[in-house]
């Protein structure tokens, strides 16, 4: 199979879907000739023209609202939100409008739109360009949330998102845009709500999202050298969540760690840990542990920033503790 970058995967997904369905268009800042600052969309405007790849002013609430209205009236817009940190600006349109319209209208109206944005720190971009804010939108009924962990998932999940009849938010990790993965030549979609077992194992379950899947896989390698067989699972979509696969794994391994790059406090690791604990409680030999971003604004200074995110080393330490049945954080 050929290898392509995550950035190319996103580009391909959009191009394929736009060829298939003329009601799809894309809008955002610097998306046309510039192809976004990350150059993810390069070439699309050449194929589809400025009528379908639309440069907007710097007006995140405005163009997101426009996407909502377009989605209600026969179009299938894709919004490019340049940084995940700008979710702050579009919460009203996504939460009070997009998420609720189908329900509030008793099923008469719906909002088939995709909001593509990103997440992830350690890019030395400081506190307003490094956040992973997916927990917020996961909390909102009516929204779906996808977290691709490689080029392969990025393409398949995005195509599914574009065909979904609901508002979907998809978070790409900024630092993974150049990461390559094997991606089929032929068309494929990845259904929502199906977790993927990246690596099977019997001793402990590592549940990881987005780039944390790489962290978990590296940790699993190290643990394997100590004779510990970790199972690595990627939920792929947080809403809907494939609880079944997670719980089946934990019932087998009796131990789990959830790893995510959002802040730890009131973040998504808590929900995943709670779901598992609720349904696999009597199988657990130790409390489900959580590894997440430190609860501080992301600092610019590199040595400080590097402390704030989960790493394979930190995960290995946590896994060893879990295997000894120790409580996290020295409690």
């Amino acid at each position: 199979m050929r290898e392509i970058t995550l950035s190319q995967a996103v580009n391909e997904a959009i191009a394929e879907e736009m060829r298939r369905d003329p009601t799809i268009f894309l809008l955002g800042e610097d998306v046309a000739e510039a192809g976004t600052p990350f150059k993810i969309l390069s070439g699309l405007v050449e194929e589809f023209g400025t009528e379908r790849i639309i440069d907007t002013p710097i007006s995140e609430p405005g163009f997101t609202g426009i996407a909502v209205g377009a989605a209600m009236t026969g179009s299938r817009p894709i919004v490019d939100l340049m940084f995940g940190d700008f979710l702050t600006l579009v919460m009203d349109q996504m939460v009070n409008q997009a998420a609720k319209i189908h329900y509030m209208s008793g099923g008469k109206l719906n909002v088939p739109m995709v909001l593509r944005t990103n997440m992830g720190a350690t890019r030395r971009s400081a506190a307003q360009h490094s956040q992973s804010l997916h927990a917020w939108v996961c909390h909102v009924p009516g929204l779906k949330v996808a977290m691709p962990s490689s080029a392969y998932e990025a393409k398949g999940l995005l195509k599914t998102a574009i065909r979904d009849n609901n508002p979907v938010i998809i978070f790409e990790d900024k630092l993974m845009y150049q990461d390559k993965a094997e991606v089929p030549e032929e068309e494929y979609l990845i259904p929502f709500g199906e977790a993927k077992i990246h690596r099977p194992g019997r001793d402990i379950t590592l549940i990881a999202t987005s780039s944390m899947v790489q962290v978990a896989q590296q940790a699993a390698e190290s643990l394997a050298q100590e004779g510990i067989e970790a199972e690595v699972i990627d939920p792929r979509t947080l809403v809907p969540l494939d609880e079944g696969t997670l719980i089946a794994s934990v019932k087998k391994t009796s131990r789990a760690i959830v790893v995510d790059e959002g802040h730890r406090n009131y973040g998504i690791t808590a929900e995943l840990a709670s779901r598992i604990t609720e349904k696999a409680f009597y199988y657990l030999d130790a409390p489900v542990q959580r590894l997440a971003a430190m609860d501080v604004p992301i600092p610019f200074s590199p040595p400080l920033e590097d402390l704030t995110v989960p790493t394979p080393d930190r995960l290995v330490v946590a896994a060893r503790a879990a295997l000894k049945g120790e409580l996290p954080h020295g409690a």
Binding site: M72, T73, G74, P77, N96, H102, M104, L109
Partner: protein, 326 residues
Amino acid sequence: MTIPNISNSETYLRMYRQMVRIRNFEDNANKLYLTAKMPGLTHMYSGQEAVAVGLCEALEKTDHITSTHRGHGHCVAKGADFQQMFCELLGKEEGYCRGKGGSMHIADQENGNLGANAIVGGSAGIATGAALSAKRLATGAVTVCFFGDGALGQGLLYEVMNMAALWSLPIIYACENNLYGEYTHVSEMAAGQLKTRASAFGIDSFEVDGQDVLAVNDLAQDLVVRARRGEGPFFVVLNTYRYHGHHVGDINRAYYRSKEEEDEWKTNRDPIKNFAHWLIDKKIIDQQDLTEIQKDIAAEAEAAVIYALAARYPSEREVGDHVYKI
């Protein structure tokens, strides 16, 4: 007022009827509230009928509108029927939104009403998106975005007007200046001249007497044609007045507006009364027939209320439906 065009008699009478229908709807809604038969609160449109009717009569069924928390008038004017509306206000299964939306979210997709909105200014993006959709898909549809003077405080409006202007979208921003946002006068909320809020974006902007249904309709006809030709967007300030409180529970209003002011508008500037005088004056209809129209509408409203009161609530199973479209 405009010189009557006899071939337009039908249109005039339809406009009259629609204004009376709105007034009747509101009187009944208010009664439902006062007799504790309606859940929650609701915002009366009475006094502003000429705005909704004047604009919506210039639209086709396939054209879109977005509406506000004060949305019953827009909904009726765009063609909704009483029964489904009252059912919605009472949270009944047969309501436009199966009772899930209520007064503040009433929508009527079949007639092009994309919905009321309880976020002030919140529908400005939706309306502009509908206009973009229409332009891209070449449906020929025009969108009217209704909002109040208070919504001029919301930044979203300026963002989307800028894009509508850049992209020449077929949309009319209709600012209903009823002088108040809740309990605060427009002069305390909006600096400068309202009209220039849009002309700053190079948008052709107008001001019209929102109590004069013919003036509103004349302007609307013109702008709708121009918008369909790709000459949009447009912005219109419609000067009007709400007769009731901000919502049905807002009874003591003396601290923010005077009884005299209210009386002046109700007595001398009522859009229905004045239009009735004009219709009779111009011999388009006589008093007796007018009274007949009023009676018919009152009966229609009453029947709808009775129907809605007796209608079923949605079944409990429905609480989990429509979170996602399959």
